[in-house]
Subunit: 421 residues, 2 copies
């Protein structure tokens, strides 16, 4: 007999901090009105989901009578898959020592779980994490629920990390006695969510040097979720894993097989250079779930072994580029630039990041957002993507899930509102 | 360049509390010596893992071109699967209102994740949870890592909940000013891990009444992971969901499709009667992973819809009974009773719970355990299964994973050590 009449539960501080996602209102609007076109959802392309490859992988497992994938796996993840991910990472970072890689990998329920574990073992409520500006808003909501403060790494007008600003920020934090509270640095380094930009090598080197100058040899979390999703040109900058200036820093490199292959299998992964950090995350993962689904990992082993990941990437890269262009060109054609908005074409990933005129307020409860919902289009308000010093005239548009005709229609609806403001 | 030379990381309290599982030593022993027979691992029967059913489900999805299971799902879990689980729960609890069930269900990465979420939103370090005696040792390790204290519900010599003892315990806790620290009651109610016993209806009613008498209307967590794994007789006792004495208590009923179907798919579920408790767990799950793999849930929908879960249960029930008997009869035949050990035959589930003579110490670092490892057999030391007032002469034997001939051999090895003590 379900009931809601029991005496009020006294929740823990963590329980009390756990609120609904900020974009719950958008999600509800989308549910209530199916004719709304969502440029908000960070979903992937429906038309290219690799059902045949997954079916073949399961068929292959069935043919050889491989029942073990239906048994519990290990907490750290399948060794075979970890070896494959190590080999994959070495295609990006050829200088990584082969012997060290498998041991340092772990499999998670999407890279989101790895982010959570990293924060959980590092931070107390009140601690500080330095984040890129703008940054992944789901990460910001997560750390907010953990009571962690986000402090943005300063950027210049071009959106590049700003050395003088960074130095001043750290000087201020250290001077305010906050040095000990800064527990990590986090950034999305390739085709970022939300900004689609990639950090270049010089920015990464500079960041390490400025931190080291202040003796802030912090754990660094490089979120490389979109690295494989370049359209035509492989991003050039090496990861922090291969940059000398970062060599003394404990490093956690995160990526995923969700965006490059199938979000529905929910297999993410991390590579951690620090044994104790890794061990504590794994012990904590043991308590969370003692291991991600073994079956999904076995399916992905088959997929990778048979070249299915490479094939899928070859399929989706031009699709996402075409989708990006469909949205971009619609916005250009519909005069959104003339209405005072600026953005860069994406070279990879799933997002366009639009800056509006100063007088536009894109927040959820503002007129612009209401008008967009009335016009039948949703976006992610940019204010959610700032750790602090929030700007309110940005929006994130995702072109991942809608088909090209829908993207053009969504662009037209958005443009109409933008022009009228 | 992986390195371990970075400056020491300052971990959070949660990070510092996260240590290796107590049975890591056993797991390592098993890895180092493959000829060891493990009665410790809580794995399921390898020979009956439902590969054909999973293959068919994937084939069915492929045939109708169902690509959506490879897309992100929802944080709460697939509505279709939740409806099926609601229908399944109503086969046990026919009085549950149909309309309330789907809404109150959520899908987790094994029921372990639901346990973690429940504790995370309820408890601060130093808080108390009342637990059955003995109880699920993985749960005990988890709450220990969260800084939560376990206090055992007193039992009599027959292992049944003891009303007078319980009343005295609560009186003592309330008198010590600890009433506010008690945040939940947890028990494994059917074919328990480790003891294989089920709580009967009278015990459940009594527990609610004694708690209510002390105004301790606490959140109750009923772990029903093994309920479907009865051998021949459906367990009679209703869940707390259907017992009037519990009607004012916030209730979380947990179960899983891992043990009854496939652990490798790692789909567990919870049913929560309290909207706010459920909401806070779901918000927290959103931060952990924003949803368990959609694909696995879609596969299980197909499996359940086609009767595959029923078929699998019909297959494994007699298999587990036969395995239980193989181990039980070996122990009897090899004179383990004469050596002073007692246990009950299991009526369901995966475990035998053996009580040894008073002078036997089964702990990991004691002679008995070392002798068993030397003899080539592993068990779970019973001390790990007590929340407090630890007894050291018990062991948990799992007959889930080994085949019958191996179970008999493992039983002989164990008996040899038992007889020599």
């Amino acid at each position: 007999m379900p009931n809601d009449i029991s005496r009020p539960i006294v929740f823990s501080a963590a329980g009390r901090r756990a609120g609904p996602p900020t974009i719950a209102a958008l999600m509800n609007a989308a549910l209530e009105n199916p004719s709304l076109l969502s440029l908000a959802a960070g979903f992937t392309d429906n038309g290219s989901l690799p059902l045949p490859a997954v079916r073949q992988a399961v068929e292959d497992l069935a043919k050889v009578g491989a029942m073990e994938p239906l048994q519990y796996g290990t907490n750290q993840g399948r060794p075979g898959l970890r070896r494959m991910l190590a080999a994959h990472l070495r295609t990006w970072e050829p200088d990584l020592a082969e012997a060290d890689t498998e041991r340092n990998f772990f499999i998670t329920n999407g890279s989101q779980q790895a982010l959570y574990l990293a924060m959980q073992v590092l931070c107390e409520p009140g601690d500080i994490v330095l984040v890129d500006r703008p940054t992944y808003f789901v990460y910001l909501e997560m750390i907010k629920a953990m009571g962690i403060r986000a402090v943005s790494l300063p950027v210049n007008a071009a959106g590049r990390l700003d050395e003088a600003g960074l130095d001043e920020l750290l000087h201020k934090l250290v001077g305010a006695g906050e040095a000990e509270r800064i527990k990590a640095v986090y950034f999305v380094s390739y085709f970022s969510n939300p900004s689609s930009r990639s950090l270049d090598a010089a920015e990464k080197v500079m960041l390490a040097r400025v931190l080291a100058r202040r003796s802030l040899i912090l754990p660094v979390i490089e979120d490389a979720a979109y690295r494989d999703l370049y359209y035509t040109m492989r991003p050039e900058a090496p990861s922090v894993l291969s940059i000398d200036a970062w060599s003394d820093f404990p490093k956690l490199y995160l990526s995923t097989l969700t965006k490059p292959f199938a979000t529905g299998l929910k297999v993410g992964y991390g590579y951690c250079t620090d044994r104790e950090w890794l061990a504590r995350m794994l012990h904590t993962k043991g308590h969370h779930d003692f291991g991600s689904p073994n079956f999904n990992q076995a399916v992905l082993e088959r997929v990778i072994a048979s070249g299915g990941l490479t094939t899928q990437l070859a399929t989706i890269r031009p699709r996402y580029e075409a989708k990006m262009l469909a949205l971009h060109e619609t916005l250009v054609g519909e005069g959104v630039e003339q209405a005072g908005w600026t953005w860069n074409k994406a070279q990879g990933g799933l997002y366009l990041w639009l800056k509006g005129p100063d007088h536009v307020d894109t927040r959820l409860d503002a007129e612009f957002c209401r008008r967009c919902i009335d016009a039948g289009v949703l976006y992610v308000p940019g204010d959610l993507c700032f750790g602090d010093d929030i700007a309110v005239n940005y929006m994130r548009l995702s072109f991942g899930v809608l088909a090209e005709p829908e993207l053009r229609e969504a662009g037209r609806r958005l443009a109409e509102v933008a022009r009228s403001f």
